[in-house]
């Protein structure tokens, strides 16, 4: 079985702060991490591989520094890592990115054989669009299952997979066929503390670089110029003031205080 995971290197959102004077993000000194949802996709791929045997490949698009994320993926048990890196990709939106990743994936298929399951996180924490994964699936013209929270069953003979996915009213179970594309939620698994041999193999591994020279990619579909998404305006949400902490000693006294004051406070705020 061959699994291919698409990951993205993102700034650690928990450490990004907003400069309220200029309305821009303070990215200086913020570490880059694997998009947390993608990390669960890697973990799931490795778990499937361990159960059914096979190989896991991983690809990301980004500058050379994204290698560190691929190294981390390798240390989680991934076998092959590819970095899609070329100046022509700079500024790509989700459409251009899904095109480039699709082209990169085709190159990996050429090298390592057909892929049975493609995986990625449900979305990236920096863009929050949830479009790139589905964009790739569309280009491959294969079944797409988004917001997966569990892989229930895999039948290698019939080449089918049963997936539980989140929907607004709860969860639904879907059966589909290989090859398919799955985007995952965080609750699909718990990321394990990787065994030492994985780490050693990762430290020894080299990362293959894909670019317009060694991969069939149409440059006229990549980059900022060829991205239909335009940023019209960016704004900073109002800085929220810290609420008042009410602590009147015991729980009962605090509740009494709330009970006595809530109506007048809400009236003052114009809420009622």
């Amino acid at each position: 079985m061959h699994l291919l995971v698409f990951i993205k290197q993102v700034p650690d959102a928990s450490q990004v702060r907003v400069n309220y004077n200029t309305g821009t993000l303070i990215r200086e000194g913020v570490p880059a991490i694997i998009n947390p949802f993608d990390k669960h996709a890697i973990e799931e791929a490795v778990r499937i591989k361990e159960k059914f045997s096979g190989t896991v490949s991983v690809i990301t698009m980004g500058p050379p520094m994204a290698e560190s994320s691929l190294k981390e993926a390798l240390s989680m048990g991934v076998d092959n890592a590819y970095l899609l890196s070329d100046r022509v990709f700079a500024g790509s939106d989700t459409l251009a990115t899904s095109y480039a990743l699709w082209a990169g994936a085709k190159k990996i298929i050429e090298e390592k054989g057909d892929v049975d399951i493609f995986l990625s996180g449900k979305q990236a924490i920096d863009g929050d669009t949830a479009q790139t994964g589905p964009g790739i699936a569309t280009r491959f013209d294969i079944p797409l299952v988004t917001y997966a929270i569990a892989i229930k069953d895999i039948d290698l003979k019939k080449r089918t997979i049963e997936i539980v996915r989140l929907i607004e009213s709860g969860a639904e179970t879907i059966e589909t066929t290989f090859p398919c594309f799955i985007t995952v939620e965080e609750e699909i698994n718990k990321i394990r503390y990787a065994p030492l041999p994985y780490l050693i193999r990762a430290a020894r591994a080299t990362i293959k670089i894909l670019n317009t020279k060694n991969t069939k990619i149409d440059s006229s579909k990549c980059g900022l110029k060829n991205s239909p998404t335009k940023v019209k305006k960016a704004f900073t949400p109002q800085k929220r003031e810290r609420g008042e902490m009410i602590n009147k000693g015991s729980m009962q006294d605090t509740l009494n205080f709330l009970y006595e004051n809530i109506e007048s406070t809400l009236k003052d705020m114009g809420k009622i």
Binding site: A194, L199, I200
Partner: protein
């Protein structure tokens, strides 16, 4: 057959572990370095001055490529009470030429860079993995256990470069539990400040020149410690380290002490307007020569802070760590020729350490800790007397200078006694200079 995954396992990617890894990998030895931090350097802290020599021998002209801040051209030693400082200052253009004597650096950045070099030499570095204990078979160290699944590793020799707490050396019985009177707790802040402001305030002619200040004296309330202030490219490192025993006895914590130093009238203007960017803390070995544990056993060598290889009088530590790492690596290479990694064979390491400049320096100061423990007033009463005297001397208050000297002589005699003073001078001479 005996299992062997690597020739050498190095525990800890600090300066000594990395230096050992560099030398070994360069010689083609199959080496793995295991680091508990997120990346090499992420757990490492030092005051901020790095002496170049040991590193320059390893990687010539490393400073052209490595993330260094400023080379130090001015050194100050201040004795401070709460409102004054009496200082010695030395600044020389001689320090402005390559290979430079010392740099201000950030360990986190620098060690990460150094680690890359070590990897390029062919050593493997594994991060976020904790070595939990040595594997001992037949009385010999043959590997280590880690906290990872399938985490055992076997090798000819394990080098414990695992820092001041060195659990490995402790587990192997090479050292005792460290006592609170031989380690200092140091805290440090990095305060961001514009380059131009730093250049102006510290009278530096470019962003590359730096100044260093060491501060001790009565303001530490009789505790044995040292504060410091170093200039980085666009920030100031300010910190203080105090022997833990003293912190306990004075029921004080170093954070409060650091705030006190930052507010000192001689220090505050130097950092004014800066913004704290980072806060760090670490333990520093202060035991010196006598605190050095046993350095080796069968299949095991230990280096750096783990052997308390720190010269706190001259604030040298990371360069000594590098030196010890190199010597450990050389010892392995010699032992490898005969394939004998027994205690006897590895004892060459001890000879090498003994012959090193670092050990000679430590030996010179070997009685310092004891001296300062017995005669703590070296840091309090004496400096205070001289601070007061200098204040008096420069004050024009109607008292004649001869009278001031007469008064000072009498006070000195009353306070210390000339015989005692002579004894103290003799003690310093006997303990330190000899």
């Amino acid at each position: 057959m005996k299992r062997k995954d690597f020739d050498v396992i190095i525990v800890g990617a600090g300066p000594s572990g990395l230096a050992a890894g560099f030398v070994l990998a360069k010689a083609g030895v199959n080496t793995i370095i295991i680091e508990r931090g997120k990346f090499p350097g992420s757990k490492n802290v030092m005051g901020g001055i790095f002496y170049t020599k040991a590193m320059d021998d390893l990687i010539p002209e490393f400073y052209k490529e490595a993330p260094v801040e400023r080379h130090i051209i001015e050194q100050n030693l201040w004795f401070m009470d709460d409102v004054s400082h009496l200082g010695v200052s030395f600044k020389s253009q001689k320090y402005n030429s390559e290979p430079f004597n010392s740099f201000s650096v950030f360990r986190a950045k620098f060690d990460r860079w150094f680690a890359k070099k070590v990897e390029q030499m062919g050593a493997l570095i594994i991060n976020e993995t904790v070595v939990t204990q040595p594997i001992v078979e037949g009385g010999k160290v043959v590997g280590v256990k880690t906290d990872r699944p399938d985490g055992d590793l076997y090798a000819d020799v394990v080098i414990g470069a695992d820092g001041v707490n060195s659990f490995l050396a402790k587990q192997l019985g090479l050292r005792n539990k460290i006592k609170p009177n031989i380690v200092a707790l140091a805290v440090k802040e990095v305060i961001g400040l514009d380059k131009e402001k730093i250049n102006d305030r510290f009278q530096l002619r470019s962003d590359k020149e730096g100044a260093a200040y060491e501060m001790t004296g009565p303001f530490l309330d009789g505790m044995e410690g040292m504060a410091w202030l170093y200039t980085n490219s666009s920030s100031i490192s300010i910190g203080v380290g105090v022997v833990i025993q003293d912190l306990i006895e004075h029921k004080t914590n170093p954070n409060d002490l650091l705030e006190k130093i930052k507010a000192h009238p001689s220090v505050a203007p130097l950092i004014e307007g800066g913004q704290t960017k980072e806060y760090l803390a670490h333990m520093i070995p202060e035991g010196g020569y006598y605190a050095t544990p046993k350095l080796f056993t069968d299949g095991f060598l230990t280096t750096g802070d783990a052997i308390m290889f720190v010269n706190n009088v001259n604030r040298e530590g990371s360069n000594l760590a590098i030196e010890s790492g190199k010597l450990a690596a050389k010892t392995y290479l010699e032992a490898k020729q005969t394939g004998d990694f027994s205690s006897k064979s590895l004892s060459r390491y001890q000879d090498k350490i003994r012959k090193s400049f670092a050990c000679k320096d430590l030996s010179m100061y070997k009685n310092m800790p004891k001296l300062l423990e017995e005669k703590r007033y070296f840091l309090t009463k004496y400096p205070q007397f001289f601070i007061d005297f200098v204040y008096d001397w420069f004050s024009v208050d109607g008292v004649s200078k001869p009278d001031k000297i007469k008064k000072a002589k009498k006070e000195f005699g009353d306070k210390f006694g000339y015989v005692n003073f002579a004894k103290d001078l003799y003690a310093i001479w006997r303990y330190m200079i000899r």
